[in-house]
Symmetry: C2
Subunit: 654 residues, 2 copies
Amino acid sequence: MALDTAAPVSAPEIDVPALTALLDGEYAEIRDLVRSNLTAYASVLEEAERLDTAAYRDRVRDLVVEMAATGQTGMGFPVEHGGGGDIGASIAAFETLAYGDLSVLVKVGVQFGLFGGAILQLGTQRHHDAYLSDLVTGRLLGCFAMTETGHGSNVQALGTVARYDATTQEFVITTPDDSARKDYIGNAAQHGELAVVFAQLEVGDRSEGVHAFVVPIRVDGEVAPGVRIEDDGRKMGLNGIDNGRIWFDDVRVPREALLNRFADVSPEGVYESSVENPNRRFFTMLGTLVQGRVCVGGAGINAAKVALAIATKYAARRRQFEATSDTEEELLLDYGLHQRRLLPLVARTYALHFAQDVVRSQLHEVFSRAQSPEGAGDEHDRRALEARAAGTKALGTWHATRTIQECREACGGAGYLAVNRFAALKADTDIFTTFEGDNHVLLQLVAKGLLTDYASEFEDLDQLGMVRFVTNLAVETVIERTSAHKLLERVRDLLPGGDQWDQEAGILDSDYHLAMLRFREEHMLSGVARRLKRGIDQGVNPGSVFSQVQDHVVAAANAHVERLVLEAFVDRVRALPDGGNKAALGLLCDLYALTTIEADRAWFMEHGRLTVVRSKAISREVGELCRRVRPLAVDLVDAWGVPAEMLRSPDLVG
Amino acid sequence: MALDTAAPVSAPEIDVPALTALLDGEYAEIRDLVRSNLTAYASVLEEAERLDTAAYRDRVRDLVVEMAATGQTGMGFPVEHGGGGDIGASIAAFETLAYGDLSVLVKVGVQFGLFGGAILQLGTQRHHDAYLSDLVTGRLLGCFAMTETGHGSNVQALGTVARYDATTQEFVITTPDDSARKDYIGNAAQHGELAVVFAQLEVGDRSEGVHAFVVPIRVDGEVAPGVRIEDDGRKMGLNGIDNGRIWFDDVRVPREALLNRFADVSPEGVYESSVENPNRRFFTMLGTLVQGRVCVGGAGINAAKVALAIATKYAARRRQFEATSDTEEELLLDYGLHQRRLLPLVARTYALHFAQDVVRSQLHEVFSRAQSPEGAGDEHDRRALEARAAGTKALGTWHATRTIQECREACGGAGYLAVNRFAALKADTDIFTTFEGDNHVLLQLVAKGLLTDYASEFEDLDQLGMVRFVTNLAVETVIERTSAHKLLERVRDLLPGGDQWDQEAGILDSDYHLAMLRFREEHMLSGVARRLKRGIDQGVNPGSVFSQVQDHVVAAANAHVERLVLEAFVDRVRALPDGGNKAALGLLCDLYALTTIEADRAWFMEHGRLTVVRSKAISREVGELCRRVRPLAVDLVDAWGVPAEMLRSPDLVG
């Protein structure tokens, strides 16, 4: 007997294969290739527990090379170098790979995304001809040596130096001190032969800022002269990756080792760049690497799917305590609290999936355009893409951490056994929230973009300059843009009517949900701008002002991204043909929207956009939506198409 | 230059050794013994990463036996059997042990808390004489075989059977099916010789409910005949513990193997018990094991201290980004956002520490009384203690999970390296939220106690009966007890004045904080009662009604425990002599109280006890308190007295 005693609402019927097709979208073919590769190599999940570190690393390396041979990992490289010539497909492949062992995923990311991506995006024909075909097959493994011990997120401040020696036409790469050692570098401790090294370029007596160089770190398997490598040792997870530290002691590389797409040094030692402003040059170079963030965000979302699939299937068969019957224990998923714990996470996973579709498409478009003769495309678009990628990455990876934790707890002690997957999922994804950009730093980047409307000046400034720019100059326009009057106008696009839109609209009206999130975003931005202006007007140091409003800045960025996520979900649902799948996704979309509003209902009340009565009604409606989604839960997680071998959990999923 | 530009408020000066003495309290001596043992065996932290599973398990076993020889682990046993005769000290020792390797901690918990505790609390003289002195030294290792695969939290429904055979005067222990196999049992896979086995006792044709039996599972290192044991295999953490599964195939043990403090079977096969009602008997037996929950809660709180000590010290020396200066990067801990992330967690850790002091003292008192000739003491006290232990365990262990995660992220990529401790802390503590009682189940237990005011009928009922009792009978009295009028009366104890107390009181007045939390608790309880009554009046199945209000039930229990925690903190601060330590703890106490109110400010607004203006003022004040606590942060974490060897993290804490 089910606990749901509310008046029966006929549940929509889900067509699971059709829903999978919808989710896989245009990349169904590559996703299915990855699924079958994952299944073929499923034993790695168990080997990860059993093998010692050295053997596991080698196993992961071998597996990546074997997968590369199927074409799965090279989709993002030009066809003439053995790639697939389709950036969107390469991201879709990476996302799908997150259903499996995550050391394999990250090894692929290091090799083809970071190392390969840097050669492709920052290098020119000579580098492409020299390296791409070998790296696409995995014959040549490499490192992306950016992060330093002393300068994690602040890449612009890194300490490694590359001095041009005109007499020999070489760059001399040096690690001046231990805080400038490269750290946490994947492929460094064992497998990497080449490294793309980020260093401060010095030409003559001028420092030209951060540039990237191709530096051999191993020759015939031996560490190259002048290079010192240390193993990072055991990590929380991802122990199939050989992370390490690298020091350079006057290592000489030829002038051609500079990845010279955006800047070059002539044989005589004359520096020239197509991007004059050094800060803009730095951000332009970094911007070409945005793909990594899109990939990590998508991987986080898909790792969350694995956890939710296990916990949901378990809850639909596990009984615990007699609750309504004297003779039979109740299914976990029939408890209201259990529904509240899992189902909003299912809804948010769908929402983030569709948001990821949008950012992947935008990236595909911007980068495909960039490789066409017309060049890099509109700068405003590119900066908006970077912000969107940063924001989706932050929300997607935090979602993974939170979801995996909740799902583990929802499976009790069984969730603690390695065979039931949560151990690896939790340990391996943990770093997602801080690598490829710390999430808090990324959200501040998003907010700065919003505050300046992605102004081109943005990229002309260093970090401190950016803060000054934002706090001093951009504030007025934001305050103007987000005046109460303007806010109302923007809401009216969605909900024609008066200022009482928030009380008149239906609680299950998507336009109401969108209006609420839009209002919150703009109002928060305006609040940040006003607070910054007040501080500046009082003569406080811009940095101090910014620090004091930092939590508002992050909240505003979060509100912005959540609005984008909801828009993506609503747009997709609206575009669907009528039927069970549309009805089911409609319920989920309402559940996502209302749990998002509910989670921040204090803010809405504080800002006059939610009455007490309506706030309580929203909480009740969330409970009701959970009850309505409950019969669909297993179909909804099945539609993600996680191969059964990736779930493992023999005693949990049956 | 600091980012704090507010008008300077002179910061209190902390006397660190005096604060440590305050925190250690009456158990300073045993805590210092544990600290020096931890330091002596510090190498196990590194061995945990390096050794294979079998070697690590043996190492942990050896270490536990060596620690036992120092008297550290036997404090809770009677002096005549080689123990220390001080229950409170045994809990304090266990808490302190949580600074180190947590496999060692849990092995101690399994051996001395669960196995030893069951022999002590459920057995009688013959069992004490036979086993205690050997188990106190660790010569005899044992298991606590309660949990079964199919019945995690629902112990009363477990499936193992113990049938009395009067012809041979033996019990025959049987595992009827796989769902009744014992699972996740520490010491089972390798080291345990004896097990305390919980089984359904059958005498003649009657089932007498769950009882405990001493069953040999290994003889001279070989698995005993009729016993089958399987290794649980690799786990997320705690891999120094040999968890396993046990099946019994008609294993015969003598009549004396029944732990017969509360019930016995005569040679002829007559069952008798001092507790007539079978449900009450079950809960009485289980109640004697409450110590385990108090221990786990305390361990969670202390594991959080290790994480916070590392992250705080790191943030006080790590610089990242130029924020206020062109020449120097800013200390992490001078960023407002970073303060907001860490300092409320420091405050909550202090709050939980003092709350743990209270529950430990109560347990010490109740159990010391129980061992005196006057017997088990007041039942109401005992049930209140059980509820308090359950609630503190839930909040303490969730706090550990959340804090360790936040601290890891606050240390960026470095936090991911095993040498920096978070890997083990996170993996090992993860299970705390669901073992010794799933936290959600525990909070429901708390709520049921509150709804029935710990009525004695409570223990006469099975799970379903309890739900029916709560929903049918207890509701009226709660509704009466928590009428608006009564609520106001209770608040008036704290804040004399009118109904506007919530607007008139000072925002930093502890009585205001207490009144808010007291109001919330009582109002939530009342809401649960009203909702239950409404459902019952409509003729809905009580179980279904309870399921639908389950989130309210859990919220009410949480509100209750948070009120107890705040009371413990306020009481301790008020009792301190004036001076720097009192001032510092006062700031922290305000920070804990206001972040707790802030986190649930939506509820307070929804229930008319927080205006929008005051809600915003509280958020501002939290930021301000963070700035004021910031200069004290390192002293505050130093005062916990975590040995430097337990922090490791050479590159983070300096």
